[in-house]
């Protein structure tokens, strides 16, 4: 098999140096190759290239039938079918309301503002409700933590609402007093309420002695008030909080630095220099949408004032992808890096208290030292305008040190501020251990768990599940433990299966509740639909426990009545419900003073986990901490870095993999804290060496139809002592499992799809990205056989800014939700049949020389969707004209005409056409049919589908504009049109709209010199322009632009580009 060159087999293009030692230096920019198979010369890559529609085996007829019989039977049944159905068309019924709700227009969606707790903060949402049920989630532009955007997980929450595996009613584990078999009985809601009331009455007699409530980070002021009311009635009870991936380290770090636990609120928009230490700020922690929006506002290349972003991390993340500089470092060495930076800051005159940096940092590598020096210099030059952020998994010692650095740099009050905690509760994995100890000692005999899944997520050495099991044993059993447990959850999950009582919880989209964001902003959660299975909110359960009678709605109104005041309450209440947020309710910053002695002590006490390998625990990109494991959209969503779905793997660097003799899919045994698990390995370019990242959340024991048997549970390794970060070993075990990776299905042969420049290069040669292909290949402009269209009306187009795309895939999930895209399962993905209309391709770039091999490769994400080519190759070959061109530039897809020849998909150079090999709509459970968008056809077997530029939204906007008489209002409607992907994107990388309207962002973007089109050389004239990625590197770490800028292929007499236009 020919070894694939790094870039391209076309010699001229191949000379655009991207890290091959024999290639000339970067000549004005950088070109990216695609998979790491490209980089490694993997022969499998060549094979995959030629097989878009290939099957593993040729079609085999069903067994036991020979061809002749098969055809006879088919012919006969077809003939009979004609007689059977008759000639009259089937009757279709219309069922109107008996009493139509006011203002409801059948079929036209209404948007409601609500909010959900997630990531330790709250996100404001605008949820589209069609015919009384939610069908699409969008971000609420009014809410500071959303600003109009969402993440992939937030989009997927909608499908969880309609999960057919949800709990349908309360359950009670009964052990008959007279002996006999114990059993679990389904009971009615009234019975569950009766039990709660009697349980609460019994507790009141004891003043709550022996009772504990375990909560998750529900961010609800109403729940906080309910718990306070409960503690007044039950003063001896205790409340603890446990989140598998919570903010306790950051809060404890603030306690060390400032004397009390505080919430750290960052403002990235004010930061000229940003340093992120091992945190995925833009996708899975902190307040990701707000951080991404703020980050994006400082990456406007043309506007000037571009920020500089440094990321130091162990495992590559979307945040690291968009950094200007990314350092791979073990997570356990981050403290040493921060110390080194502290020392360097002192050299630039920053007043870092000397005791803080007294501890000698462990020996850092040269790259790490250079990074620290450069970062420190930049931060020192941007006092008050820089920001250092530590990731959630870093221990409190690092958070405290980072807080101290921010204080020294004068960033506090500018780019970072501290606010009081929303609800102070004992939290963290250690409190769970204390709870279990208390239960074993019989100090706690009653446990109410509101949400969460502690039987699945508890640290490995906290025997929570075992405890619940022991409580179910007969009283005479030797290890019986006296515990009455109640779990309120949306599913009968691992914890509910073991608890004494299970009460169904209302999903966020069917709850009356409220939320408080990390900065204190208050919002209401209002339901989009009555609870599907009679679920209850946490506050309701507490209310019932203390014999209250109010339901969730009354409880929330009471909370807000107190907050908004009685005067004009109804009006104020309706306004809050309408806006989705209480404006100006953010908490005031707390004045902080640094206790540098305490920080120094903590830093001195820090001991990095010792072991050959460090073991890092990250939330699974599909399941988060397990709560989304049964969500088909999330399981099938390729994760941003590996592009893997329907499984989890251990991530190690390429160097480590080659040291251990590992390739993608090999089984490894990872050992930590005395336990080991076996799972496949994923070779991850850019991972730190001798470090392995395990994702938590897969391998659920809950037998949901989606999550059953998916992935490996890595939590046996996650002990209390090393809850986020541990040490252990990785060894090759025998075995292999093919990784379900979507990248590498369509290999684009190293053509310059992704183009990148530094700011200096962009300034020197702005048109490089646009013209590079023309300059190097000297292709004569290809001519089309068909005359060009005149687009005098609307001209729909899109631009995607690669500087901003983090690869978070919120757009992919939004598209899936908006367009009823089916989920296939792992078998379909392994056959490269995944149906996502929009996909994120991850490309690697090499570095000059590549001294450490491909681990130093920088990655970029490129969203790829139907390019709506003006000269579309797919339109030209459809035998039945099922795909046509609209006068406004849309490449249309008419499903009812399509006969499934797949010729269009074959002809598409971008491979964005997806074929329905089976009737994926056939076995959708009844509840899940509710999630479909009624404005988009649900496709059946045998038709092609592809991105339509959200034609349903385009048509709705045009219809609304047509009904409008005022021209200014018409323009406003068209300008307000957003495609689903554009609306979801947290960094606003995607712009969609009318290219003929010069005021629209898309038109402005398309006119930029760095706007280029993918594969433009084949003259398909795509409507999507990509804005070349611009990085803002620190010249101390890399040259801004090489002094010898070679234009490969520019010499006269070059083999390509004869004036006569001969084919080369």
């Amino acid at each position: 098999m020919k070894r694939l060159p790094l870039v391209s087999s076309v010699p001229a293009l191949g000379a655009l140096g991207t890290g091959r030692a024999d290639a000339p230096s970067v000549d004005g920019g950088r070109i990216y190759a695609q998979t790491h198979g490209d980089l490694a010369g993997d022969p499998r890559v060549d094979e995959l290239r030629t097989r878009e529609f290939a099957a593993e085996r040729p079609f085999e007829p069903p067994p036991g039938v020979d061809r002749r019989t098969f055809l006879t039977l088919m012919g006969a049944s077809m003939a009979l079918a004609g007689l059977a159905t008759g000639c009259r068309r089937p009757e279709e019924k219309i069922l109107p309301y008996t009493r139509r709700p006011e203002d409801l227009v059948d079929g036209r969606p209404i948007e409601f503002a609500t909010s959900v707790p997630f990531y330790g903060t709250a996100l404001g949402l605008l949820v589209e409700s069609t015919d009384g049920r939610p069908t699409k989630i969008e971000g609420n532009p009014n809410h500071p933590d959303s600003l109009g955007g969402t993440t992939a997980l937030v989009q997927a929450m909608l499908l969880d609402l309609y999960d057919p595996d949800r709990s349908t009613g309360p359950r009670h584990f009964v052990r008959p007093k007279s002996g006999g078999e114990a059993s679990t009985v389904d009971v009615g809601h009234d019975e569950a309420w009766d039990f709660l009331r009697s349980f609460g009455d019994a507790l009141k007699k004891e003043k709550g002695k022996g009772f504990a409530v375990l909560v998750d980070e529900s961010r609800s002021p109403t729940l906080a008030l309910a718990l306070d009311a409960m503690l007044r009635d039950l003063p001896e009870a205790r409340v603890v909080r446990f989140e598998p991936f919570g903010r306790e380290n950051a809060r404890t770090g603030a306690q060390i630095a400032f004397g009390r636990p505080l919430e750290t609120v960052n403002d990235l928009e004010k930061a000229d220099v940003l340093l992120v230490l091992d945190g995925d700020l833009f996708d899975s922690e902190g307040s990701p949408v707000k951080a991404a929006k703020q980050f994006a506002r400082r990456r406007k290349v043309e506007a000037g004032g571009m920020s500089r972003v440094y990321v130091a991390e162990a495992c590559p993340t979307p945040t690291g992808t968009v950094a200007d500089h990314r350092l791979r470092i073990q997570a356990r060495r981050v403290l040493d890096l921060a110390l080194a930076i502290g020392v360097e800051l002192g050299k630039h005159g920053v007043a870092v208290p000397s005791e803080l940096v007294a501890r000698q940092p462990a020996e850092l590598g040269d790259k790490q030292k250079a990074f620290a020096a450069a970062v420190a210099k930049d931060l020192a030059g941007a006092k008050g305008k820089g920001l250092v952020v530590a990731g959630r998994r870093q221990p409190p010692h690092v958070h405290a040190l980072v807080a101290a650095l921010n204080v020294a740099l004068g960033n506090v009050g500018q780019t970072v501020r501290h606010v009081p905690l929303a609800h102070t509760v004992n939290e963290g994995a250690a409190t769970l251990m204390a709870l279990v100890d208390a239960i074993e000692k019989r100090e706690i005999t009653g446990l109410l768990m509101l949400g969460g899944n502690p039987a699945f997520n508890a640290p490995a050495d906290v025997p929570f599940a075992a405890l619940l099991e022991r409580a179910r044993k007969p009283k005479e059993a030797s290890d019986y433990v006296d515990l009455l447990s109640v779990h309120v959850a949306t599913h009968v999950d691992e914890t509910s299966q073991l608890a004494t009582w299970h009460i169904p919880r209302a999903h966020a989209l069917e709850s009356w509740s409220d939320t408080i964001a990390e900065d204190g902003t208050l919002a209401v959660t209002q339901p989009l639909i009555a609870p599907l299975y009679g679920g209850h909110t946490d506050a309701e359960v507490i209310e019932r426990l203390i014999s209250g009678t109010r339901n969730a709605y009354e409880l929330v109104r009471a909370t807000w009545g107190a907050r908004l005041g009685a005067l004009g309450f109804e009006k104020a209440w309706r306004k809050v419900l309408h806006e989705g947020v209480l404006p100006l309710s953010a908490a005031a910053s707390v004045e902080v003073s640094l206790d540098s002695a305490k920080v120094a002590a903590a830093v001195g006490d820090y001991k990095a986990p010792e072991g050959a390998f460090e073991v890092v625990f990250a939330p699974d990109p599909h399941a988060y901490d397990g709560r989304f494991a049964n969500n088909g959209w999330m399981q099938e969503l390729p994760d941003p870095i590996h592009k893997m779905c329907w499984m989890n793997a251990a991530s190690v660097s390429a160097a480590t993999a080659s040291k251990l003799g590992l390739k993608d899919g090999d089984t490894v045994e990872v050992t930590a804290n005395g336990k080991s698990v076996k799972l496949p390995v994923a070779v991850t370019y850019g991972h730190a060496d001798d470090s392995v990242t395990l994702t938590v959340g897969q391998g659920r024991r809950f037998e949901g139809r989606v999550c059953k048997g998916v992935g490996v549970d890595t939590q046996p390794l996650r002990a209390l002592a090393g809850f986020y970060l541990s040490a252990g070993n990785v060894a090759k075990a025998g075995g292999f499992e093919e990784l379900a990776v979507t990248q590498g299905h369509f290999v684009l042969e190293g053509r310059p799809i992704v183009r990148e420049q530094t700011t200096a290069q962009y300034e020197a040669d702005p048109k490089w990205a646009k013209e590079i292909v023309q300059r190097t290949t000297k292709h004569p402009a290809l001519e089309s056989l068909w005359p060009a269209w005149d687009y005098n009306g609307h001209k729909w187009g899109m631009t995607i800014d690669l500087t901003l795309c983090t690869g978070c895939s919120a757009c992919v999930t939004a598209c899936q939700a908006e367009n009823n895209i089916p989920v296939l399962g792992i078998a379909g993905v392994l056959k490269s049949r995944e149906m996502h209309w929009l996909r994120i391709d991850r490309y690697f770039a090499g570095r000059d020389g590549m001294p450490e091999g491909a681990d130093e490769a920088m990655a970029t994400s490129l969203p790829m969707t139907c390019q709506h080519c003006e000269n579309a190759p797919c339109e030209q070959v459809c035998p039945v004209a099922a795909t046509t061109h609209s006068p406004e530039g849309l490449n249309e897809m008419t499903y009812n005409r399509c006969i499934g020849t797949k010729y269009c998909g074959n002809n598409c150079p971008y491979k964005v056409r997806r074929f329905n090999y089976f009737a994926y709509d056939k076995d959708v459970p009844e509840t899940q049919k509710l999630v479909f968008n009624p404005d988009v056809t649900v496709r059946s077997r045998g038709v092609m589908e592809k991105c339509s530029f959200c034609v349903q939204r385009v048509n709705q906007a045009k219809i609304a504009a047509k009904k409008e008489k005022d021209e200014a209002k018409q323009r406003e409607i068209i300008r307000g049109l957003k495609s689903a992907c554009q609306q979801a994107c947290p960094t606003e990388a995607i712009s969609f709209g009318d290219l003929n309207d010069a005021e629209q962002q898309v038109a402005k973007n398309a006119a930029l010199p760095r706007a280029y089109k993918a594969l433009e050389e084949i003259n398909v004239r795509p409507r999507i322009s990509y804005l070349a990625r611009i990085r803002n590197p620190n010249t101390d770490l890399e040259p801004a632009a090489p002094s010898d800028v070679k234009q490969a292929g520019a010499q006269p007499g070059d083999g390509h580009g004869h004036a006569h236009g001969e084919a080369h």
């Binding site: 000639c87 068309r89 009757e91 279709e92 019924k93 219309i94 069922l95 109107p96 309301y97 008996t98 009493r99 139509r100 227009v105 059948d106 079929g107 036209r108 009306g793 046509t884 061109h885 609209s886 006068p887 849309l890 249309e892 008419t894 499903y895 009812n896 404005d935 988009v936 056809t937 339509s948 034609v951 349903q952 048509n955 219809i959 047509k962 009904k963 008489k965």
Partner: protein, 218 residues
């Protein structure tokens, strides 16, 4: 060996039978179904029996009720909407309160169970039609639904096939009127008889009906 051999008479009978019998007969059947199995012949005249014998002739014709009193969402959204039971009861709580014809309506009102009307004008699910934009352009109800005010039982008068839609989309002038008059019945016939287009203010926007696929197919 026993090989099947066609008998000698099949040399003449089979080809003759095919070319003069089965062939023309089969072609006629196919042609007939092809031509007559279309909306124009199949769907026009469809007048199914409804659960409640509601007479548009009485309400819209003799009593002169405007279409939009009941089909209230037609100017706001895609669907004209069969009215909720509440709309019927607006009058029938006081009028004809014991009529046997309205028994099902009263029962629906009491039991909160919808009346199961049979859909007359039915488009396939892959065709997305929007009423409101047609009304705002000035297409009258009778252009597509015929003289509803003369129908004791609703009957489909127009084929509602894609070709029929496109005929108007390509030349809409004959069906456009002042949007204020969309529910007036009889204007279309008068206009067709006189040969004059219906009255329409000159300053209205010129409708641009989509003729491309994605105009209706999503």
């Amino acid at each position: 060996m026993s090989r099947f051999l066609f008998p000698k008479w099949s040399n003449k009978v089979l080809p003759l039978g095919f070319f003069f019998g089965l062939g023309p007969a089969g072609t006629a059947v196919v042609a007939g179904v092809w031509y007559y199995g279309t909306n124009k012949h199949f769907e026009v005249g469809y007048a199914p029996e409804q659960p409640v014998p509601f007479s548009h002739k009485l309400h819209a014709g003799d009593m002169g009720m405007d279409c939009r009193y009941c089909h209230s969402t037609v100017e706001k959204g895609a669907f004209a909407s069969v009215p909720p039971t509440q709309t019927c009861m607006n009058c029938h709580e006081k009028v004809l309160t014991t009529s046997p014809n309205l028994a099902k309506v009263r029962e629906s009102w009491k039991s909160d169970v919808p009346i199961e009307w049979v859909k007359v004008h039915n488009l396939p699910d892959y065709a997305y039609f929007d009423h409101s934009v047609h009304l705002s352009a000035g297409v009258g109800c009778e252009s597509c639904h015929g003289r509803i005010d003369q129908m004791p039982i609703v009957e489909q008068k127009e084929p509602l096939s894609m070709g029929w839609c496109l005929d108007c989309h390509r030349a809409p002038e004959a069906h456009l009127r002042d949007p204020k008059d969309v529910t007036k019945m009889g204007m279309l016939e008068a206009s067709q008889k006189s040969g004059q287009p219906m009255a329409r203010p000159a300053d209205l926007r010129k409708p641009v009906p989509p003729q491309n696929c994605s105009g209706c197919h999503r």
